[in-house]
Structure formats: structure tokens, C-alpha cells
């Protein structure tokens, strides 16, 4: 890590450069894929928060978007389709001093992993959940996802989708998430700030990110979002007002809102409420209290 001091007028002193988070492998996403913007903004957010790589764990499922941890220099786990939230929950409980980030796609997070979404939200565990929502299954070459528009023609729906899409934001708000936001992958510093706020939030923080699939979704393109995105802050939205948050989240047409919809800083997190974690530091650093013979016996039994 170069730990370079960078002097940029008007910006906070950065000690770890965004480049220091570059993984060993270059992204294999299609040119122009929105996911590049997410990776870039996440690197900037970590850099501006001064988070060292060894204190970050990025957990993902399966999908183009889920290849994310491979391109980011930190601890990482590429798990099973739809399962990054339960794996991340386990990791966070084992070491609650880690900053645990979960990256997923709309298929991964709202389809096959939809059940984990609501339960992780209501537990209010301190994870940051970044969902790259391109309204399509990208990796499997273009089938409808849970967020595809009703009527959308894809490989799997040649006559148009007959299903109503889910609204990830109202789902998260009703599910009990304490930080609910929406972003667009090309929004530069506005997006970086949202990610920073999400990481700093104590509890389950969730950002639904429009991250266009330039190869298989020809409806929800960069141009589509650039023409429609409006910022909630400009409307004077109060993030403690969950009813207005739901109303704004349902708006989908000539105007689509991004920004912080809801934040509840009062509810305590799962780690704060869990008596086992009260004293003694992370479980991962504690002694098991077993002799070597006892632990070998357990391992033998399990093998």
C-alpha cells in the first residue's frame, strides 16, 4: 500500500488512495457497464473514510455484479447465488470490528436471496448492502429479474414480462432497515457520499443502485437515468419520515428519485443487543477455552 498523502484543494486529506484498493484482477465487465461506476465510487468512499484494506470484508453472491470482491483489494468472499447476506451475517458476528460490505445484483439480492433481505433488514445487523440493480440477469445473458418492468421483452419473456416488479426500497423500509437509499452508478461525488454515509451508519444500511447493463437491458440505459434522476435532498425530504419515503420510492416515470430515503439512528444494532458480544472483543479473537485434544476430537467428529 502506498499510503500517499494527496493534496487536493478543498478536499479532506486522504491517506489511502482509491488506487490502493485496486484488486489483482481487472474487471471483466463489458465496456460501459454501470458496475465500473460502483467499484470506482466504493474505492473513493473507502479512501475518503481512511479504511485500511485489512479491516474490510466484501461478500458477494453470483452474477456479473457479484464478481466485485475479486476486483477490490480487501478480504473477500464470492459465495453462492442469493446467499451473501447470511454469510456476511456470520462473518460480522464472528468479528464485529470488521467493516462488512455485501455486494449483489437484483437477481441475486431480490430474487433468489429475497428472503434473506427482509430478515437481515429486521435484525438491523451492521452491514452495508450495495445492490447493483440493472433490472436484468446479466451473467446468464439477459432474462427478466425481479425488478424488470412489466411488459419488458427479454430472452425469457419474448411476449413481454407478465410480472409486477418488486420495489426494493419499500420492501427494505417495511422490513425494518434503518438506512435506505437509492443511487445511480454515474453520479460521482453524490454517490460516493451516499456510500460513505451507508458505511458510517450503525445498523443495516442498504443502497439500491441503478447500474445499467449495457449489453442486455436496452431500456434502462445510462441515458434513461440521466434524463430522469432527481435528488431527494432538493425536495427537502426528511429521512425520518417513512411514509413520504415510501411515496417517493414508488415514483417511477419522468422523474425518479435518488438519495437518502430513510434513516433511523435510534434503533440499536444486533451486535449491540447480543449479550455475548457485550464484553471481550470479537469472538474471532477470543480463546475457545478448549484443550488441543478436545478441539481435535470435535474436528474429527465433524469430518
Amino acid at each position: 500500500m502506498s499510503n500517499k498523502k494527496k493534496k487536493t484543494a478543498g478536499k479532506p486529506q486522504v491517506t489511502i488512495s482509491p488506487k490502493d484498493y485496486k484488486g489483482k484482477v481487472n474487471p471483466d465487465w463489458c465496456v460501459g457497464c454501470g458496475d465500473f461506476g460502483v467499484l470506482n465510487a466504493f474505492q473513493k468512499a473507502c479512501s475518503e473514510l481512511g479504511l485500511p484494506s485489512h479491516k474490510i470484508l466484501v461478500v458477494s453472491g453470483i452474477g456479473c455484479s457479484s464478481n466485485f470482491p475479486g476486483f477490490f483489494n480487501s478480504y473477500g468472499m464470492h459465495t453462492l447465488h442469493g446467499r451473501p447476506l447470511p454469510v456476511a451475517t456470520g462473518a460480522k458476528l464472528a468479528n464485529h470490528e470488521l467493516t462488512v460490505i455485501v455486494t449483489a445484483g437484483d437477481g441475486d439480492g431480490y430474487g433468489i436471496g429475497g428472503n434473506h433481505f427482509t430478515h437481515t433488514a429486521r435484525r438491523n445487523i451492521d452491514l452495508t448492502y450495495l445492490v447493483m440493480n440493472n433490472q436484468i440477469y446479466g451473467l446468464t445473458t439477459g432474462q427478466i429479474s425481479p425488478t424488470s418492468r412489466m411488459g419488458m421483452k427479454t430472452k425469457s419473456t419474448p411476449y413481454g414480462s407478465v410480472e409486477l416488479p418488486v420495489n426494493p426500497l419499500t420492501l427494505a423500509i417495511m422490513g425494518g432497515a434503518t438506512f435506505v437509499a437509492r443511487a445511480y452508478s454515474s453520479e460521482g461525488s453524490y454517490f460516493v457520499n451516499l456510500i460513505k454515509q451507508a458505511i458510517q451508519h450503525k445498523g443495516f444500511s442498504f443502497i439500491d443502485i441503478f447500474s445499467p447493463c449495457v449489453t442486455y437491458n436496452h431500456e434502462n440505459t445510462h441515458t434513461f437515468f440521466k434524463q430522469r434522476i432527481k435528488h431527494l435532498e432538493d425536495e427537502g425530504h426528511d429521512p425520518t419520515d417513512w411514509k413520504t419515503a415510501c411515496e417517493k420510492a414508488m415514483i417511477w416515470g419522468d422523474e425518479i428519485y435518488t438519495g437518502l430515503f430513510l434513516q433511523n439512528t435510534e434503533r440499536r444494532t444486533l451486535e449491540q443487543l447480543e449479550p455475548i458480544l457485550d464484553k471481550g472483543g470479537p469472538l474471532a479473537h477470543r480463546s475457545l477455552g478448549l484443550t488441543e485434544a478436545q478441539s481435535s476430537k470435535i474436528i474429527e467428529k465433524l469430518m
Binding site: K6, K7, T8, K19, K22, P27, W29, V31, G32, C33, G34, F36, G37, L39, N40, A41, S185, S186, G188, P212, V214, H222
Partner: protein, 104 residues
């Protein structure tokens, strides 16, 4: 990282790259951050305008490395920063400095 526009752009300034950049970080007027619009206007006003010493630049702090611009350029002027051919290495510094940023 960032992408860098090199010598072949000089005098061509085709702006095909500008149209595909998802973060609008390719500029002609680097102070105004015009996303190439001023070049387009200049060309629209006078198709024979003298572009002899002019080129576009990519803002290194804003570029997200998505590579969308690279295949669009008709004169192959755009390269990822670490693949800029030796003869055009100067353009890396020029590109950063155009935006008042320190080249790595």
C-alpha cells in the same frame, strides 16, 4: 487509474468518445468541464474550423475506467493509463495537469 487521450486526437477531436462516456468526464474546455459540448458547438458553427493544436482530455479523478470510450475513437487515441505507448507517455502528465491534478 484512468484512461488517457493521446496524440492522434490532436486536430481530429471527433467527440465520438464524449457520446458514450457514462460519467461525462471527457472535456474540451477543461475549466468549464463542458463534456465536449464546446467542441461540438465549434464544429457545428464552422465545419472547417482549424483544430490544428486542439485535443480533448479525460478528467482522471472522474473517469471510472469503464473503457466505453476506447473502441469509439476513430483514430485509436485512447488508452488505459498503464498501456499508453512509450512515445505518448507525456500525454499522461498533460492529461492530469489539464485538470490541475498531480500525475502519479
Amino acid at each position: 487509474m484512468t484512461f488517457i487521450i493521446t496524440e492522434p486526437c490532436i486536430g481530429v477531436c471527433d467527440t465520438a468518445c464524449v457520446d458514450v462516456c457514462p460519467v461525462d468526464c471527457i472535456h474540451f474546455d477543461v475549466d468549464e468541464k463542458d463534456a465536449g459540448q464546446k467542441m461540438k458547438e465549434m464544429k457545428a458553427a464552422d465545419p472547417n474550423v482549424d483544430l490544428e493544436k486542439l485535443q480533448l482530455f479525460i478528467d482522471p479523478e472522474e473517469c471510472i475506467d469503464c473503457a466505453a470510450c476506447e473502441p469509439e475513437c476513430p483514430v485509436e487515441a485512447i488508452f488505459p493509463e498503464d498501456e499508453v505507448p512509450d512515445v505518448w507517455k507525456d500525454f499522461i502528465k498533460m492529461n492530469y495537469e489539464a485538470f490541475g491534478q498531480e500525475a502519479p
